[in-house]
Amino acid sequence: MVGLRIFVYAVIALMLLPVLITFPVALTATSRISFPPAGLSLRWFASILTDQVLLQSIARSFWLALTVAVLSIAIALPCAFAAQRGRVRYRNVLETLITSPRMIPQIVLVLALLVYFEPIGLAQKFAGLVIAHLVVTIPFAFRTLLVSVATLDRRLEASSNVLGATPLQTFRLIVLPQLKTGMIASFIFTFILSFNNVTLALFLSGIGQRTLPVEMFTRMNVAGMTPVIPAISFVLSVLGVMLFVVLDRTIGVYRFLAARE
């Protein structure tokens, strides 16, 4: 096992290296991307807070992800119930249909939406972007929630029923609390999926309406990049690590992401 251990730790080092390298590069005092950095200064980290365009893109990403996450659950949860409980005859077909958006390359999907949105006036509108995100996040939310719904203890509902609760009361007081963990996990992962998505936003967001990843991409690819980009990258990485650790210690990352296929 020693050989394996060395191999694994070498892989870990390689995985962390690109992330860690952004930190010293962002600490530079000049405005050039170089390693080792010329001079040390925190100015680029500070400039995150004054870069209006960047801040707006962060806000946009946040609201987009929040909207998408809430809507995904709102749409996928009843669907999971219908698939699991309803006597729907073509359940397999339904499940395949719902997860099919994830089976085609995202670039094909986004091109299709781009050409489709133009004639119907949704191109470069926030609503269009939300819809595009929903198409790729709902399959995932559906899968996760389906597992939660499938593991509900129906005897709790029967007991509630006999004790006098209406179906709505049973749902509100007994079923929803049972689904809490699944819904939170689904929400968080859908939020992450939407926040980090580049391809959809790249094609579909309006000119002045860039999300954070798109803003970062544009600066890298076209507009010229200052060390504020490595700075924000590093901050995002740190947040990502913290989020991961919290999730792993509470919900168990493998359990829920494995439903992601």
Partner: protein
């Protein structure tokens, strides 16, 4: 209160999702397919150009597009092979440990999906700059001197894609490996099998479905990947998604872009399913050997 038939309620609950998928998934794809069979870009003056397969003909005959398709396939295959080769041992190790070590290793492996892709690419970009970290390390060891053109090469592109897709592979393989009941491995050990034999005769066959799923996923994601090719690969390793993007946005030739995307789709799907059914056949044939 009139009681609705359960079937009616179920159908009602499904309406939003069905509407969404029909109007914003199936219709757009159908429209894209239609576009790919047009001779020209629809414009306000000419909203309904004639049907023609000229775009497909162009793609299949022009060596430029053919080499692009080949590149896409090569990129996909190389990435998949390396990713699985690295992810499998790592996933195996992960299933053998627990606690903080497991969290640490998992963080490192899964980080690329917790932060956006640009962050990952940026890191590699910095490392691979002509006077970046890699060049400095190699220069320090005396292997090279002067600037190193690592960006815009095939190996660099594959490296970044492997980095991007390792998390997916690790996730699938960890859950596949965890599903192996420990008593099967213990039985093999009691019977005297050594580690290599256990791995090849027992563990790999039992995780075959996970492996196949992994290969299909990584291949389709990396062959159709867009960002790494454009930021790292550049024009030296042109792949289909780059052309799709150009024709779709800057050059405004939607029919050609549509045709290219269906070519990509067909390539990815046929290779994926071809692989899956080949694996199925092998697995069935050799099944009794692994018992």
């Amino acid at each position: 209160m009139p009681r609705l038939a359960p079937q009616a309620i179920s159908l009602a609950l499904l309406v939003p999702i069905l509407l969404l998928l029909i109007f914003f998934f199936l219709f757009p794809l159908a429209y894209l397919l239609h576009l790919s069979a047009l001779a020209q870009q629809p414009t306000l003056q000419n909203p309904l150009p004639e049907l023609s397969f000229v775009n497909y003909a162009k793609i299949l005959q022009d060596s430029f597009y053919l080499s692009m398709s080949l590149n896409s396939v090569l990129v996909g295959l190389s990435t998949t092979f390396l990713t699985v080769a690295i992810a499998y041992p790592v996933a195996f190790y992960i299933t053998r440990i627990s606690g903080w070590e497991r969290t640490l290793i998992s963080v490192a492996c899964l980080l690329p999906i917790f932060v956006n892709v640009i962050v990952s690419i940026l890191g590699w970009y910095i490392l691979l700059l002509p006077f970046g970290v890699v060049q400095q390390a190699l220069a320090g060891l005396g292997i090279v001197s002067g600037p190193l053109q690592l960006l815009r090469t095939f190996p660099a592109l594959v490296a970044v894609l492997v980095y991007e897709h390792l998390p997916f592979a690790v996730l699938i393989l960890v859950s596949s490996l965890q599903a192996i009941p420990a008593d099967k491995i213990n039985a093999a050990r009691v019977l005297g099998a050594g580690v290599p034999r256990i791995v090849f005769s027992l563990i790999i066959p039992l995780t075959m479905p996970g492996l196949v799923a992994c290969v299909i996923l990584v291949f389709s994601l990396s062959a159709s990947s867009y960002l790494a090719p454009i930021l790292i690969g550049g024009q030296r390793t042109p792949v289909l998604p780059l052309a799709i993007f150009s024709y779709g946005t800057e050059l405004q030739n939607w029919p050609l872009a549509a045709a290219l995307s269906f070519v990509l789709l067909v390539l990815v799907v046929t290779i994926s399913y071809g692989f899956a059914s080949a694996m199925n056949r092998i697995a069935k044939r050799g099944q009794w050997e692994f018992v």
